[in-house]
């Protein structure tokens, strides 16, 4: 009985969280297949511990920490030498969403391409900082704690990434003009 209830809770957790966890892994590892493997490994790990966790546990935080750790490690292995703008890895190609098609607005698609370019130029650690800050909306202190770095390092990395995004956006606009 307790098992069935726990399983139902786990199914709900996977339905609510797995998409975001996979997206996180995708941005960090820059490889869709690896991201899928990492997400499955992490979710199996969560399921194995599920029965032992009390109500105060935060399975999403645990899963996110594990995704970041595995994806960053994977990216470090793949990033020797570090990725450049020319080498963007086999990440999925940004595609037009139904919203883009409905409005005919290509700006979101352009942004996705530019963001991917910015992320590809960052070191795995800096990429994790930017993704945790803007995908997960984590505060700098929590990011610092998770990655084992000073929280003061977070904002400068994010500022640099935004400046780079701004630069690429300007270049794109000039290219269109």
């Amino acid at each position: 009985m307790a098992r069935a209830l726990n399983d139902r809770a786990f199914v709900a957790f996977v339905a609510a969280s797995s998409s975001r966890l996979q997206l996180l892994a995708q941005h960090l590892s820059a490889d869709q297949v690896t991201a899928g493997d990492i997400t499955r490994t992490v979710l199996e790990n969560v399921y194995r511990k599920w029965d032992r966790w009390g109500s105060s546990a935060d399975p999403y935080a645990y899963a996110r920490r594990l995704v970041v750790q595995l994806s960053t490690e994977q990216a470090r292995q793949a990033a020797a030498p570090p990725p450049t703008a020319d080498h963007q890895g086999p990440a999925p190609t940004p595609r037009l969403s139904t919203g883009d098609l409905a409005t005919g607005d290509l700006a979101p698609l352009v942004d996705r391409v530019l963001v991917r370019r910015v992320l590809a130029e960052l070191t795995p650690r800096d990429r994790a900082i930017v993704v945790l800050r803007y995908l997960e909306d984590m505060p700098p202190a929590a990011i610092g704690q998770q990655l084992g770095i000073r929280k003061g390092l977070v904002e400068p990395v994010c500022d640099r990434a935004l400046a780079q995004l701004h630069k690429y956006a300007l270049q794109t606009r000039e290219g269109e003009a």
Partner: protein, 205 residues
Amino acid sequence: MTALEDRLRAALRADAPPPVDAESIMEGAQRRRNMVAARVGAAVVALVVVAGVALGLVSRSRGDQAPEPGAIVMSTPAAGAAEPQPGIRPSIPDIVPGRSLSVFPDRWCLVSSSDGRPFGCAPLKDHVQRVSDDQGVGWLVMLAASGPDTAVLQVEQTAAWVNLRTSPAPGSENRWVGVVPSTEAPEEPRASRALSAEGKEIWRA
């Protein structure tokens, strides 16, 4: 900066993949649990055999009387007493296609999943073995008593640490097995280690 931050947020959140099938995750985890249970059973059987053999040795060294005619006697112990025996293996999932893992008190062996034939054994102090699967593909296999907090096993290559696909191994929750195709870890590992979910190194050899 805020508008740019919003664009960055939106771009990161776009193209989200569909949710993972929870049932398949639970099945995968359950398979691993069963694998542990089956291997614990196999380890107990092996321990009983070894204990019986050891008792026989002690009994002989003490010069105990010969058994009565017709009594059941354990076979004479041999150096390879704990080797996997064809035909008496429990059903154990493959570590790599066609190969499964048997852990004994003093060694660990990669054996044929179909008939239990050993492909290679190593003392428990040796953490890494290489084996080819039934398609001839090479794999690096690692066994580590790295504790229940293990999240991932790794081997060190010149360029970087390589993650192994990590799952619980026979005997206890303390022992873990990791595998990776040899092509991803072609060198003799310089070191091996286990990381916790927090990324902390909790075991190293």
